[in-house]
Amino acid sequence: MFSNFLIWFVIVPVLMLIGLGLCRNSSMKAIRTVMVVGSTILLAMSLWLCVDFLAQRAAGAADEMLFTGSWMWYEPLNIHLAVGVDGISVLMLILSSVIVFAGTFASWKIDPLPKNFFLWFTLLSTGVFGFFISIDMFTMFMFYEVALIPMYLLIGVWGTGRKEYSAMKLTLMLMGGSAFLMLGLFGIYWHSSADPNSLTWNILEISNNAAIDPGWQNYLFCLTFVGFGVLGAMFPFHTWSPDGHACAPTAVSMLHAGVLMKLGGYGCFRIAIFLLPQAANELAWFFIILTGISIVYGAFSACVQTDLKYINAYSSVSHCGMVLFAILMLNTTAMTGAILQMLSHGLMTALFFALIGMIYGRTHTRDIRQMGGLMKIMPYLGVCYMIAGFASLGLPGLSGFVAEMTIFFGSFEHADTFHRVFVIAATCSIVITAVYILRVVGKLLLGPVQDEHHLKLTDATWFERVATITLIVCIAAIGCFPNWINETIQHSFTPIIEVINQAANSGAMASVM
């Protein structure tokens, strides 16, 4: 079992948990050492995984998932701990480890109870890593819940503002989503095979069996897509996002917006679309409407907010809406764009929340009306904020542009009026995004200094620089050299597109007969 490389993505965080448990409460140094060493190892592992993965692909490994392994966990229900990755999961693992790494540095001086904070933080990341390596629906769901629960405590204890309310709201709404999801997953399990004695949780086997009948698929698709969609901040289930993000501590916002919301998109596409292709073909239109609304609605809402975190939370609604929107286009180009958008949004939102945390730590306000001219006072943070803003509004050379363009060009392959209307509505978001980003940049960073007390503030410290530079380098790398990512993930779409096309054809056949 331990010879499987992927399983170490769960073992390392568990070791980190043990290490943190052994630290004394007051020993900041020991805690930081454990966190930095652990997150660096995770980062190195994910990069190595990527290199190894590409090497194996280059050597001709044509399986859908590589590094697979499966261990029986609970025989009566046929639950396994099954792992395996394709190009998409590899990139998601890199994203998670980058954000855990940056998040560690961003919460360098967390107060109070640093040890407990990092314990929950690491537990959260365990769940995230576990989710991305799993190919067994049950373990996937279990890790998903592991990632969800610590959020309640992290926000409730270390948050700001109305933290108890927000923590409760976020957890309840996401748990509500999980309830749908659980029903959906159980439904998929009961229909996973034509033979009632060989029911399975394994995604690959379910897809091969293709035993779920179209009537059931529709129900299950709605359940799972909504379940994951709640986490992906799909309209109208997005309202946890503004409140939750606004009250969460910096590193938690980073991890939540950066990675946890990606769990939603990833799940939609790995489970809802891949396992229920006929329903996906049939019902995509309905969710395209919802996600299309998310995109424009989130962007418009962001325009009038005055709290930095609210602005970014609504902007996340818009950008994550784009992810789900692209997935529903059901073609390779748009789905590639969805993955790029997940990476891009993860990185830049993490950067945004990190910077907002750093600014808030200095000015003690997040209200843009009370700040101004910060570029002069803290040029480093100001420049970083501008870079994040430019990435968000889709400047070429940074990640957002590549992702959005791939989505638009992919979505435009559908020639019917319905899709055209929604794609053009989605493209309008590039203008609205520019409006709210430049509004914030103009008020927050430029112009005259608003508050004289701010003149005494200092620029970024070294650990803050580590956090921001890591993220900026990743954003620029994706923006300047996007094609290697394309090549990494393209192979992964072949089976998905295949099942969708088959489903579409059989659907057409059925309607003819």
Partner: protein, 643 residues
């Protein structure tokens, strides 16, 4: 051609940007200035070498036996593959117009780099300024050498952002901040049109590359299968939408509102970006896709109409501005519109489509003399510390170099022989008359207005009445770093008209022999001279005619001075309608309807549990009562079921 040199043309400016941008803080001003100027100088030399080799070497790679100049993709690297067919490449296309633009951009950019050394000397953020200039040069060069429309879009966005950064260079001034924001958002809005145009075009062509699209426009038309949308063919829609992108960048009505405000940026920036290079990107875009536009004449008609209206509007507004940079800005809008009209009226059957050649010629000459005028204005502002002509007057004695070079610029833009503007404007007017007399007559009138407002400006600055403030603070000519570019550009403006432009740049890349059309030339020259004479009478010496005229038509003057209230209209739409009505109501809806529903579920759950928790009273008696009731009920049900 070897790949190395063209790569360097792009690589040097971007490297300079990174060096100055990241390391600028650790550098002295002098070091940063020298690095920036040196970098741009080397880029200019390489660009000249490349362009001149292309035009004059006679290499069969560049020109074939019939004299046809070839389009040479020097390199073309895959950047991003959307699908197997639809691939975005980053490349370097060498053809007549891109080679010409290489010369224009690097020359002006180098002049501005040099000039800024003097102009920006005392400013904080000198290093940052040079870094942004390099970024702009990189983006603009990348735009003109684009091998495909998507590459153009990429660099199109990058010039937009460089322009944003440079307009907002004095970021502590609220006016500069809002001007930069406005410029970015207006052009972004236009770029949305551009993007949708590209989406439509690439959907049918399955490629972004210019060479297959422009060399075989009929097959592009065929690929659309005659699809139409709202009465126009989809190709027309695509071309018009792409042109909307050009309207944004080139400040055509009604998307012109950002350019006058962009004058908040430092003057060298206005000269480089908002006069000579970036704002002609729209013209360049149409020229690049010209064969495709020819196929859909409706789209060319659209270009012509937009250009003609804008040219007249901007010329009228320019007559009533006080800020000298605003006058020049409106003059730029008007002149670019001139180029648009010239492109729009070009047809292959009319003298081998020489409207296209004339438009490119004017782009070239205009870049030189408009940069000269802006740099001259910079020298004036530098000397009197004000943008308004009311703070100037009688400056010819104090600033002789600026005076003479500015005069040359004015003569060139007015179209007086033998200055460069005469030749290019004559060609354009001839092309317009060849298409339809109306365009010719209309644009001749605009040319007359141009001569009038330019000489109005010239007299008000250098003649009129000497400003009394000069006694305390005597204005003087600028230092050599600033005067040298003025002199060079003035010299170019004197001789550039004699370049046999038709030999190099034509729509079908075959040489065309320019000849002056005497009747057209005589008309336009007469109109220009009359307009200058009128300006001389009105503004040479202080006299009451202008104020009397203003008093006679206060409404018209006020309307023209306020630019016919376009800004107010936009303000109303964006702030009152979009921001206050749409955005705010959506935000309200989100909090008070959607979120309230979610909270409502929680509240209902809470209320219900409050309501039924009384049953868990803890008192044994109550429980026993419930127990017996339940038992009786169960017994009853069982009884019914059994019998």
């Amino acid at each position: 051609m070897e790949m190395t040199l063209p790569i360097l043309i792009l690589a040097i400016p971007i490297t300079m940007f990174l060096i100055l941008g990241i390391g600028g803080v650790y550098m002295s001003k002098k070091m940063a200035g020298v690095l920036g100027i040196l970098g741009m100088g080397v880029t200019m030399c390489i660009a000249y070498y490349v362009a001149l080799t292309y035009f004059f070497s006679g290499d069969p790679a560049f020109i074939d036996a019939q004299g046809l100049r070839l389009q040479v993709p020097v390199f073309d690297w895959l950047w991003l593959a959307f699908t197997n067919a639809l691939q975005v490449k980053l490349g370097f296309l060498l053809d007549p117009i891109s080679a010409m633009m290489l010369i224009v951009i690097t020359t002006i950019s180098f002049m501005v780099h040099l000039y800024s050394w003097g102009y920006m000397e005392g400013e904080k953020g000198f290093q940052r300024f040079y870094a942004f200039l390099s970024l702009f040069s990189f983006s603009m060069l990348g735009l003109v050498v684009a091998t495909n429309i998507f590459q153009m879009y990429i660099f199109w966005e990058l010039v937009g952002v460089s322009s944003y950064l440079l307009i907002g260079f004095y970021y502590k001034l609220p006016s500069a901040v809002s001007a930069s924001k406005k410029a970015f958002i207006v052009t972004r809005f236009a770029d949305l049109g551009f993007l949708i145009g590209i989406l439509i075009l690439s959907f049918y062509c399955k490629t972004f590359d210019f060479i297959p699209i422009t060399n075989d426009p009929t097959s592009v038309l065929a690929s659309t299968g005659g699809a139409t949308f709202m009465g126009a063919s989809v190709l027309t829609w695509a071309l018009v939408l792409i042109f909307v992108g050009g309207m944004g960048k080139s400040a055509m009505m009604p998307l012109h509102i950002w350019l006058p405000d962009a004058m908040e940026g430092p003057t060298p920036v206005s000269a480089l970006i908002h006069a000579a290079t970036m704002v002609v990107a729209g013209v360049y875009l149409v020229a690049r896709m010209f064969p495709l536009y020819l196929i859909e004449e409706a789209s060319l008609l659209f270009v012509t109409c937009v250009g003609a209206i804008t040219a007249f509007y901007a010329a009228v507004v320019a007559c009533c501005q006080i800020d000298i940079k605003r006058v020049l800005a409106f003059s730029t809008i008007s002149q670019i519109a001139f180029m648009m009209v010239a492109l729009g009226v070009a047809r292959p059957e009319l003298h081998d489509g020489f409207g296209y050649m004339a438009s490119m010629f004017h782009l070239f000459t205009h870049a030189m003399f408009k940069a000269l005028l802006f740099l001259g204005a910079g020298a004036l502002i530098h000397a009197v510390h004000s943008n308004d002509y009311t703070a100037m007057g009688g400056l010819r004695k104090y600033m002789p170099i600026t005076h003479w070079t500015f005069l040359i610029g004015c003569l060139a833009i007015a179209g007086i022989w033998p200055f460069s503007g005469f030749f290019s404007k004559d060609e354009m007017l001839a092309a317009m008359f060849a298409n339809h007399w109306f365009w010719g007559a209309w644009m001749t009138m605009v040319a007359g207005l141009t001569a009038f407002y330019m000489f109005r400006l010239y007299y008000l600055i250098f003649w009129w009445e000497e400003n009394p403030h000069y006694k305390e603070h005597k204005p003087h000519d600028a230092p050599w770093q600033m005067s040298l570019p003025l002199i060079i550009l003035a010299a170019v403006s004197c001789v550039a008209g004699f370049i046999p432009f038709g030999e190099f740049v034509t729509w079908n890349r075959m040489p065309y022999h320019i000849h002056i059309e005497l009747p057209v030339a005589a008309t336009s020259l007469t109109v220009a001279i009359l307009a200058i004479a009128l300006a001389t009478v009105m503004y040479r010496k202080k006299n009451p005619i202008p104020s009397r005229l203003k008093a006679a038509m206060p409404g018209l003057w006020q309307a023209a001075h306020r630019r016919f209230y376009w800004d107010e209209i936009y303000m109303f739409i964006t702030h009152k309608i979009i921001f206050n009505i749409i955005c705010k109501s959506i935000a309200w809806f989100d909090r008070h309807v959607i979120d309230a529903t979610m909270d409502g579920f929680a509240k209902i759950t809470q209320k219900t549990s409050f309501a039924i928790r009384g049953m868990q009273s803890g008192s044994i008696q109550t429980y026993i009562v419930w127990y017996f009731l339940g038992a009786v009920l169960l017994a009853g049900i069982t009884w019914i079921c059994i019998f």
